[in-house]
């Protein structure tokens, strides 16, 4: 018993591990809750693109010593506008337009970063996160921005619900659809910034999509889907940090692998809808 307690408690004597755990829980919850809308609206590719296209903004902010969130937001909006302009005339399909903007802006970000001195280390941190390097100040920013995202989702919950389920209903109810679309986009951009240190750009999509996808297989209503996704996200965060500590695996991939393992278990064994259950 004491062995078990010390197994859990020992890592906590290091402040950077405690901070990593708190950050992983916050990011697990915020990404998963917002991720339910990403999944329901079929925005996975867009979310992945946005995680990459904010890189130039983050790098510029990083070089100028600004808060990274500002740079990310500016490039999040630039991304949305560019995709809008490219698809507006019906000349390009949306996924093609996303692809072009995605690759172009990501390349710009990597190019900008390559001009700076510490290229390899910084790039690795942006791409895969630096969970064990979360500072006290990072944690503060993460908590505040995470809380804002959850609050906005709560305030506009029923409008986002309608917009995700039936666009035409949103129109006939005269909901401010354009405003809501941009709001969701800004929330995604902010959440990406919040999660940058925990999972990094390359694995960001997993935190949006995987817990929400697992939750969708187990639930019948959106509030429960959000709660279950948040629980899976938080659990993945905590377990991932411990796994990273004991197995000496990079922390970002470790968190994502736990979430993926949960998804696979749910896909196979979920009550009523799991593969194993339905085939028996």
């Amino acid at each position: 018993m004491t062995a078990l307690i010390s197994w859990f408690a020992d890592p906590l004597q290091f402040d950077f591990i405690s901070r990593a755990l708190i950050a992983a829980i916050i990011v697990g919850v915020v990404c998963s809750v917002l991720g339910t809308f990403v999944v329901l609206r079929g925005m996975a590719f867009f979310g992945d693109a946005l995680a990459h296209t904010i890189l130039p903004g983050v790098v510029i902010a990083f070089l100028l010593g600004w808060p990274l969130a500002i740079g990310a937001l500016i490039f999040g909006i630039i991304t949305a506008v560019l995709i809008g302009v490219l698809t507006e005339q019906g000349l390009l399909k949306e996924d093609t337009a996303i692809g072009v903007v995605f690759a172009g802006l990501f390349a710009l970000g990597v190019a900008l970063l390559s001009i700076t001195g510490n290229y390899t280390v910084d790039l690795a941190h942006f791409l895969f996160g630096n969970l064990l390097g979360v500072s006290r100040q990072d944690l503060l920013v993460t908590s505040v921005l995470g809380a804002i995202v959850l609050l906005v989702l709560f305030l506009f919950y029923k409008e986002f619900l309608v917009l995700s389920f039936d666009r035409v209903l949103a129109v006939t109810l005269r909901l401010p659809a354009t405003f809501l679309n941009y709001l969701l986009l800004i929330l995604i951009a902010v959440t990406i910034v919040v999660s940058l240190q925990v999972v990094g750009i390359a694995l960001m999509l997993a935190m949006f999509v995987t817990p929400a996808a697992a939750a969708s297989l187990m639930t019948r209503r959106l509030p429960t889907m959000m709660a279950v996704a948040a629980a899976i996200g938080a659990f993945s965060g905590v377990t991932g940090v411990y796994a990273s500590y004991y197995l000496d695996v990079a922390s970002g991939p470790s968190v994502v692998l736990v979430a993926t393992a949960i998804f696979v278990l749910v896909f196979l064994f979920a009550p009523r809808r799991g593969l194993v259950v339905t085939r028996l």
Binding site: L40, Q89, G90, L155, F156, K158, E159, L161, V162, S164, F165, D166, V168, L169, V171, T172, L173, R174, L175, P176, F179, S216, T219, R220, R221, L222, T224, M225
Partner: protein, 287 residues
């Protein structure tokens, strides 16, 4: 914050007394504004051409015509997601833009029935416009949802996930959503496709009860028999209005031949049978 609420909230429109429920006045929609989304150099080429008609409160109208006749574009025009290139659409004397009294019952294929929502949740969505931003459903809203479900005889389905319903039940739920929205103009796009006769009957019975409340119903359908039997007036459409009026006047051989030109065949004989290949092999009618 208060300013944000007023700027985002829909303007409430008051219906002008004595105005038609729905009135189109020489409406043209070019392809660029319509369904194609692609700017064509469309010299006089319109998705809809010179539509003029009006609908009276409480009427039940069938919109029929071949595939690509512009039925969906017409509905989008009424909802307000497509704007006319020329002419005017008025609902109770105002353009569609600010009305929250128009309900659209989508084709079943357009809805994601795996969506995590119960029947109750979906019907409550109809209330969202009236509840308003930053507010939550109150007891009155829950009561409206309950009575709307009762009116479509679906109270017992309230807690079901929407994927766990039959086709007819799904249609009734969306009618309940329109009732919860307190809609006065109900647009239904192919609501009867794939439903068996008892389910169709049930839906027409429900639509019949709406007439007493002054709810106007416009239904797009491929089924000419239903259009002939169950509706007050029929709008025969193929990019322009071929004919509009009582079913027996509209669904005549010359009109159907004009509307369905390539898709209709006359079998000469005692009754001059016109076969119309409307959609999926259904839609045959005697003329």
């Amino acid at each position: 914050m208060a300013e944000l609420v007023t700027r985002l909230a829909p303007k409430r429109i008051h219906h002008e007394p004595g105005q038609s429920t729905l009135e189109l006045d020489h409406v043209y929609v070019s392809f660029a504004d319509g369904t194609r989304g692609v700017t064509l150099a469309s010299g006089g080429n319109y998705a809809l051409r010179d539509l003029t008609f009006s609908v009276t409160k409480g009427e039940r109208i069938a919109v029929v015509g071949p595939n690509g006749a512009g039925k969906t574009t017409l509905f989008r025009l009424i909802v307000g997601t497509v704007t006319p290139s020329q002419g005017q659409v008025n609902i109770y004397g105002h353009g569609p833009g600010d009305h929250i009294c128009i309900a659209y019952v989508p084709q079943r294929s357009q809805i994601d029935f795996a969506f995590p929502a119960t029947v109750e949740d979906v019907v409550m969505m109809g209330r969202v416009g009236r509840i308003g931003l930053f507010r939550w459903p109150r007891r009155h809203d829950r009561e409206v949802v309950r009575s709307s479900l009762a009116r479509v005889e679906a109270s017992h389905l309230a807690k079901r996930q929407i994927g766990e319903l039959s086709g007819g039940q799904q249609q009734r739920i969306f009618i309940a959503r329109a009732l919860a929205q307190e809609a006065e103009l109900l647009l239904m796009d192919e609501p009867l496709t794939g439903l068996d006769l008892p389910s169709q009957d049930r839906i027409f019975n429900i639509l019949g009860t709406l007439r007493a409340d002054g709810v106007t119903v416009v239904v797009a359908t491929h089924d000419l028999n239903l259009a002939a039997e169950r509706f007050d007036r029929v709008l025969l459409l193929n990019r322009e209005i071929i004919s509009y009026g009582r079913p027996e006047q509209v669904l005549s051989t010359p009109h159907l031949l004009r509307a369905y030109s390539g898709q209709a065949t006359i079998i000469p004989g005692e009754h001059n049978v016109v076969l119309v290949d409307a959609c999926c092999g259904q839609g045959e009618v005697d003329a």
